[in-house]
């Protein structure tokens, strides 16, 4: 089916070359230079200045990435106000927004240029499987709160959309060599090519490896693998005519690391991930019309309860949208999307779980006056679930018909932005998002465990309902020329209904029968409410100094349905979410030198390990980078993470180790 999409896209592209008019992708760089601020399409699908986006959003620039000294995306994201990280091993970190972070964090949708990098089979993001290198990222857009009306399911806690340089507009090439403690080694290369006037491409590849953190958990040493990562990425843009453009992106990642699964047990994991996406854009007289198709293929070799497990997951997505302006004040987006997602059951094969989703969506942005804009966006998804294949002995006597189920959900985002004065901006948002049960939750998991001490079956639950998240936010920001920056405050409240609980061997969801074992599964266990506030400030001082600081408070209250206990179901979010987190960044730079320091505080929390909540004391981490510019576009930098301790307990698992890196890089 996917091949036919691509063929159709190519055919459409050939046909469109005959049209008399005009298609362009968004030139982020030129628009940013024009408006003197970052530009985003992650709020509504329409290009907008970040200060006018009707969502709660932070944008991390390429310069901030470069000066972060970080070697991975979660470390960079951890410095954004309200972003929570749980670093379980040197290669596996879970990222959440404003609480509810957990092993296999499912609530944060992660995309690369709009292509899903979030892994649908188990509902999480394995950050190392993203095929992009940090050097090729133009900006990282972090939306806080649901944005399902634009991106669909799972954009509930927020969205991270990673925007890479566009080879058509950005001539960015690089080489990076990095070495560090823990036997860290990394090599990355990227080259942008102009192949005539109408074809541009960027090729990147990279490899890294390091030692896993020391095993101080009591778990078996064989579970812990030294992380290795190999990636390759191609991004090509062909100008088919003055107004028609085809962008093709292909990514490959092969990763070895130590994971932690949703029931907080370590597991060795080997990922093989590849994707291809084609996007055809036409800047027509009817609007900016965009058709895209992509396919992600994933293989994960891991284990569950010491049983070798192989996950296979294929996602195919086709979408078509038109973005247009009516009159001087109204911008609209209309779109349709078709998605197919499937995986064979694991670790016991024999079945295939799949679903098709048809979606329609729309957005209306109304510039009411010079100072007030209103945005309304909505999306309707219709999902058809199905199962094929046989069942292993020991499971309850059910048929595939149990999976013949339709889910229909409507999500929306409402936003108002009022620029009361040129310096004062107020923002109000209200959103409804939906977290879809994963394929594993819906039956992809199929494990019959019979040991001398335990007899039972762990399976998915096709009747599991999605978690519905509604979020209300208010924000105020004020530009402060006195400090060369701005200050802001945000208030937010969120409610999650039909919260998902994980299987636990101490509570069967279906009793044993003469012909079947007790079943342990995923169930909806209740609801949860969160409220909090965020304070931010940033500024610049003469002589190249800059600073930023943020603090976020969240308070979560969980409420379990009768018969369930949130702690037993790995869903005690009031316990696992710290109330306090804060970041401070101070930096300085001149033409030759740059120095950046990053301090992060995270308050007390408890996290699961060995099936029980373990207290994790609040902690401060410190990171930094010192860099010297050299001739010919070269830079030499020393950077470090977790610098305060040799090894620091930041989760209930492995202690995070200090890492110091030496980096030699060249840009051209």
């Amino acid at each position: 089916m996917f091949k036919s999409f691509l063929f159709a896209g190519a055919a459409a592209g050939l046909a469109l070359t005959a049209l008399p008019a005009s298609a362009q992708s968004i030139d982020y760089g030129s628009l940013e230079l024009l408006f003197n601020e970052p530009v985003t399409t992650s709020a509504t699908g329409s290009p907008q200045r970040s200060s006018q986006a009707p969502v709660d959003m932070d944008i991390i620039s390429a310069d901030e990435i470069r000066r972060s000294g970080a070697t991975d995306l979660p470390t960079i994201l951890s410095r954004v106000a309200g972003v929570d990280v749980q670093a379980w091993s040197a290669g596996h970190t879970d990222v959440g927004v404003r609480g509810y972070n957990q092993a296999r964090s499912a609530r944060l949708l992660v995309l690369v240029n709009g292509r899903q990098a979030y892994l649908d089979h188990y509902g999480y993001t394995a950050w190392t499987t993203l095929p992009v290198r940090l050097e090729e990222i133009r900006q990282i857009e972090v939306v806080k709160g649901p944005n399902s009306a634009l991106f669909g399911f799972n954009a509930v806690a927020g969205v991270v959309n990673i925007i890479t340089y566009n080879p058509k507009f950005d001539d960015e090439s690089f080489a990076t060599v990095r070495a560090g403690t823990g036997d860290y080694q990394e090599l990355a290369l990227g080259q942008t090519l102009k192949l005539g006037e109408r074809l541009s491409a960027r090729l990147t590849a990279g490899s890294s490896k390091e030692d896993e953190w020391d095993n101080n958990t009591g778990s078996l040493d064989r579970l812990f693998l030294d992380p290795e990562r190999l990636t390759a990425n191609v991004d090509a843009v062909a100008q088919l005519s003055d107004k028609v453009e085809l962008r093709v992106e292909g990514g490959y990642a092969s990763t070895i690391q130590t994971d932690i699964i949703s029931t907080y047990a370590y597991a060795p994991a080997k990922y093989l991930n590849h994707s291809v996406k084609g996007t055809l854009s036409w800047d027509s007289q009817f609007g900016l019309i965009q058709a895209s198709a992509y396919q992600n293929d994933l293989t994960v070799k891991t284990e569950i309860a010491a049983v070798p497990t192989r996950y296979e997951n294929t996602i195919q997505v086709f979408s078509l949208q038109n973005l247009f302006k009516v009159g001087a004040q109204h911008t609209f987006r209309v779109g349709v999307e078709q998605r197919n997602n499937e995986m064979p059951t694991a670790p016991m094969p024999g079945g295939i779980i799949s679903y098709d989703v048809m979606s329609v969506s729309g957005m209306w942005n109304w510039q009411v006056s010079d100072t007030l804009s209103l945005t309304a966006a909505a999306r309707h998804d219709a999902l058809d679930l199905q199962r094929q294949g046989r069942f292993p002995v020991g499971l309850p006597p059910v048929t595939n018909a149990l999976w013949d189920r339709s889910l229909k959900e409507t999500t929306y985002n409402l936003g108002a932005v009022w620029s009361a004065t040129p310096s004062d901006t107020f923002r109000a948002t209200y959103a409804r998002g939906v977290q879809l049960p994963t394929l594993v939750d819906l039956g992809g998991l199929q494990l019959v465990a019979v040991t001398p001490t335990f007899r039972g079956a762990f399976t998915g639950n096709p009747t599991l309902d999605p978690t519905v998240v509604t979020n209300f936010g208010l924000g105020y920001s004020r530009d402060m020329p006195q400090i060369g920056g701005k200050v802001g405050i945000k208030l937010f409240a969120q409610k999650s209904e039909d919260v998902k609980g994980q299987p636990n061997g101490v509570q069967a969801d279906s009793p044993a029968t003469p012909i079947s074992l007790p079943v342990y599964s995923f169930v909806n266990i209740g609801e949860s409410e969160m409220r909090g506030f965020e304070l931010t400030a940033e500024g610049q001082v003469a002589d190249g100094f800059h600073w930023s600081a943020n603090y976020v408070f969240t308070d979560i209250e969980d409420s379990a349905d009768r018969g369930y206990n949130t702690a037993i179901r790995y869903a005690a979010f009031s316990e696992t979410t710290p109330e306090h987190r804060a970041n401070v960044n101070i930096g300085w730079a001149n033409e030759l030198w740059s120095v950046d320091t990053f301090a992060r505080f995270e308050g007390d929390k408890s996290l699961y390990y060995n099936a029980a909540l373990q207290p994790v004391e609040g902690h401060m981490t410190f990171a930094g980078r010192i860099a010297r510019e050299l001739p010919n576009g070269m830079t030499l930098a020393v950077s470090g993470q977790n610098l305060l301790d040799d090894a620091q307990r930041q989760t209930s698992g492995l202690a995070a180790e200090r890492r110091v890196f030496m980096t030699l890089s060249k840009d051209w």
Partner: protein, 175 residues
Amino acid sequence: MFTRYAKSASAVLCATALALPAVAHADAAKNLQVAGRALTFLEGGPTGATRMGVVFDPSKPASVAEKNAVMAAIGSGYDAGAIKLVGTAVEAGAVGGSNAQVFFVTSGVNYAAVGAAARGKKIITISSDAACATSGACVMAVATQPKVEIIVNRATASAVGAAFKAAFRMMIKEV
């Protein structure tokens, strides 16, 4: 006491007067930067060296001051994205005879007359005064303080045959 205040006020006025040209020059450069980059979002817009006529009224000190600041900012050529602006001062009454590809209309000139002449020549007009665009005399007005603002008059743009790219239109104010 009054004398002391008067001296202080005089000192402030002198300092302000000295500072004004620098501020005006800085704003002129920023406005030029925005105007030039905005031109790159025109369908079939100019590339490379682009002749900009800086329209002024010699009888209006403010207009002359802005013309001087803009011309100073342009110098021998001002790079703004994909184009290089090359400036020529043009008196308001001489717009019809100018060979400029784009006019920068300084504050204080008779917008209506200049706008009409430019429309007749199908030439884009840009001003730092929002009123020039909102009145329909100019195609575009740009401002950079406290934030970049771009206003495009759709009717005037259409009259001179100027069409901006869709993404650009979604990020500016149209009247």
